[in-house]
């Protein structure tokens, strides 16, 4: 009997609840993770409120916000207006960035190798197998390319980066569009899969004669060799903030319901062809309205003060006019 009494007594120990304000929680895309974490650091220093952002991938972010386990979800592949309406979500673009092809080729420096969407598509289709293929050589008459086989690296997980990359390949390579198409995870005809932007970056850094695609910040942080691209206007452009901005300037946010805008393959002589926006998803009427308001405060602060920090990491801040639109959306749609 003592035994039972002891168990009961032990069971009576009650857990006390803490009175600390919870951090803002969010989950989703890995593409904007570097800039979100930088903003979060600065925001915490200024206000004392932290942000807990898990870069688990766009699709997982959408799932988490639908399951209401996080205050906001983040995705690179925007949801269509109907989907937003169905689940009572609000969507807006938070920051823009660019995807760059990265290579590991001996003796070739960043920006020296030039690729086009057509050639990139053929490499990812497995049609161009060697670096000295005439199609690549034509774009790079001055470079001496090895006769080695190309190791194609792509994402193994579903990803918004893949969505934008395959969207670009579909626009610029007809065979890609017919055979593979676009999506967060596609049926890759060739190559090895790596998990996350950081996985692809790690693979490219390791593997000689490899090619992959990553968000620009990952290429820069890992000191990877990126390639220049031929854009829609037929001009060769380098991945710079200026060329990303040129592409972003084309976007017509006002007319897009749910801010559904894809920024790949934009016209303009200086536009970087694989530019993308990344989006935030929140519930219109969240269960925890206080948490929602805290999150909005963070986003508002980021729009106001985060522009410089974003540019330091080579992201493109949203233009002021768009920020005004977004703020109107907040007051109109998110219930406090």
């Amino acid at each position: 009997m003592n035994f039972i009494k002891t168990i009961v007594a032990a069971g009576l120990v009650a857990a006390s609840t803490s009175a600390f304000a919870a951090d803002i929680t969010g989950a989703g895309a890995t593409f904007p993770f570097p800039v979100y974490s930088k903003w979060a650091d600065a925001y915490k220093k200024e206000t004392g409120n932290g942000l807990n952002y898990q870069s688990i991938g766009s699709g997982a972010g959408i799932k988490q916000i639908l399951a209401k386990t996080v205050t906001f979800g983040a995705t690179d592949a925007p949801l269509k207006a109907e989907a937003l309406e169905k689940d009572g979500l609000v969507q807006w673009p938070m920051v823009m960035g660019a995807i760059v092809p990265v290579v590991n080729l001996e003796g070739i420096k960043s920006g020296e190798l030039v690729l086009s969407g057509e050639v990139l598509g053929d490499i990812y289709l497995g049609k161009i197998k060697k670096w000295d293929d005439p199609a690549i050589a034509n774009l790079n008459p001055k470079l001496k390319l090895p006769t080695d086989a190309i190791t194609v690296v792509r994402r193994s997980d579903g990803s918004g980066t893949t969505f934008n990359f395959t969207d670009y390949l579909s626009k610029s390579n007809a065979e890609w569009k017919a055979k593979v198409g676009l999506g967060t995870a596609v049926e890759w005809p060739t190559g090895v899969g790596a998990k996350g932007n950081e996985g692809v970056a790690g693979n490219i850094g390791q593997t000689k004669n490899a090619i992959g695609y990553v968000e620009y910040a990952y290429a820069k942080q890992n000191k990877l060799t990126y390639a220049a691209m031929v854009n829609k206007a037929g001009k060769t452009v380098q991945p710079t903030v200026a060329s990303f901005q040129a592409a972003a300037a084309n976007a017509d946010w006002e007319k897009a319901p749910g801010y559904y805008v894809i920024l790949t393959d934009q016209p303009g002589e200086t536009s970087w062809p694989i530019t993308a926006a990344t989006f935030i998803l929140m519930h219109k009427s969240a269960t925890d309205k206080a948490a929602s308001q805290e999150a909005i405060k963070f986003f508002k602060w980021s729009f106001e003060k985060g522009g410089k920090m974003a540019e330091d990491l080579d992201y493109i801040p949203m233009p002021d006019s768009v920020v005004k639109l977004i703020e109107k959306t907040w007051t109109a749609e998110i219930k406090s």
Partner: protein, 329 residues
């Protein structure tokens, strides 16, 4: 103050019925408690199988048996086409290669440790093998990715490819180009990972061989090889096979290390130097981003792995039982 009153009761007049009922209650509680523990294992197992089947049901209904024989994996196609042949192939091939490497090496180490090794060297080697088992699989993955992969791709793979170039069958198995991430690399890492299972179990069972048997064999002039071949191994094969099956079970299900180095490609390639995928690696890399039929397909993959492992372990049990019977006769 329950404790005191109980002590006083015990010290008081002898109440036989009461004391017995207290014992009985304790006994019954203990019986049911242990029984509940045992049953809970079955319940958990049943629950896992059930939830896997429920989760996999949409995919089962959609694809049926063709799921097993389709090599195309296209979750983004409309409608999605999912076939498990690639992951099944990768799982089996990596496990088989891993066992081909790990069994001779593992048993070799065990024989050396128990029969040949000088006493002073026994502890360091035994400890090293056991430490191998303690390394988390992610560390194996990283080591495989950063060290072993580049090493194999720059030395071993080109060597094998050039040797077997043009040879029928072997030429296609060892076909180029060399790759940092491949089925073979994953199999080699798996072999290192399962080595401790085979070695430590073999050492334990080798120690059970009665010294008199071995001494008798040595006495009639047997060499160490003959003693091992004709006395130690036949006496212990049941245990050794058990260890091998345990290792195989681990190799089939290993996830993290394999995901790092196998290349995660659903294409089936005849070359073992080409990237591939395994069931567990496919689930690990795709599950977070999956939904609908795709997710259901991944759960079905999980169910397949479950069944596969179940069959391997049952086959092991069956073999062990038959061997035991044979040994008994």
């Amino acid at each position: 103050m329950a404790v005191q009153s109980d002590v006083m009761e015990a010290a008081g007049p002898y109440d036989r019925a009461r004391a017995l009922s207290a014992f009985k209650l304790g006994d019954v509680t203990f019986y049911w408690l242990t029984r509940a523990c045992a049953i809970s294992v079955l319940l958990i197992l049943g629950g896992i199988i059930l939830s896997l089947i429920v989760g996999a049901w949409p995919a089962i209904r959609e694809y049926g048996f063709s799921f097993l024989f389709t090599s195309r994996w296209a979750p983004s196609a409309d409608p999605p086409v999912l076939g498990a042949l690639g992951p099944i192939y990768g799982t089996l091939i990596t496990s088989v290669i891993a066992m081909m490497i790990a069994i001779p090496v593992g048993i070799g180490i065990a024989i050396f440790l128990t029969e040949i090794c000088p006493i002073w060297l026994r502890r360091p080697i035994g400890l090293a093998v056991e430490l191998l088992a303690g390394i988390p699989s992610i560390i194996y993955g990283m080591w495989g990715f950063f060290v072993l992969g580049p090493f194999l791709a720059n030395s071993f793979q080109p060597f094998m490819i050039s040797i077997f170039d043009g040879v029928p069958v072997l030429g296609t198995i060892f076909a180029g180009p060399p790759s940092y991430l491949s089925l073979f690399n994953a199999a080699l890492i798996l072999a290192i990972m399962v080595l401790p299972f085979i070695t430590s179990i073999s050492v334990d069972v080798f120690k059970t061989v009665p010294p008199v048997l071995k001494e008798a064999a040595y006495g009639v002039g047997c060499t160490t090889w003959e003693v091992v071949r004709n006395v130690v191994i036949p006496y212990t094969r049941v245990g050794v096979i058990g260890g091998v099956m345990l290792a195989l079970g681990r190799a089939l299900g290993e996830t993290m290390a394999v995901t790092f180095i196998i290349g995660n490609s659903f294409k089936i390639s005849s070359s073992i130097f080409a990237p591939g995928t395994t069931i567990s690696a496919a689930i690990a890399s795709e599950f977070a981003e999956s939904d609908g039929l795709h997710q259901s397909g991944l759960i079905l993959l999980g169910l397949l792995l479950f069944v596969l492992t179940f069959f391997v372990l049952s086959a092991a049990r069956l073999m062990l039982m038959r061997l035991e019977k044979k040994a008994g006769n």
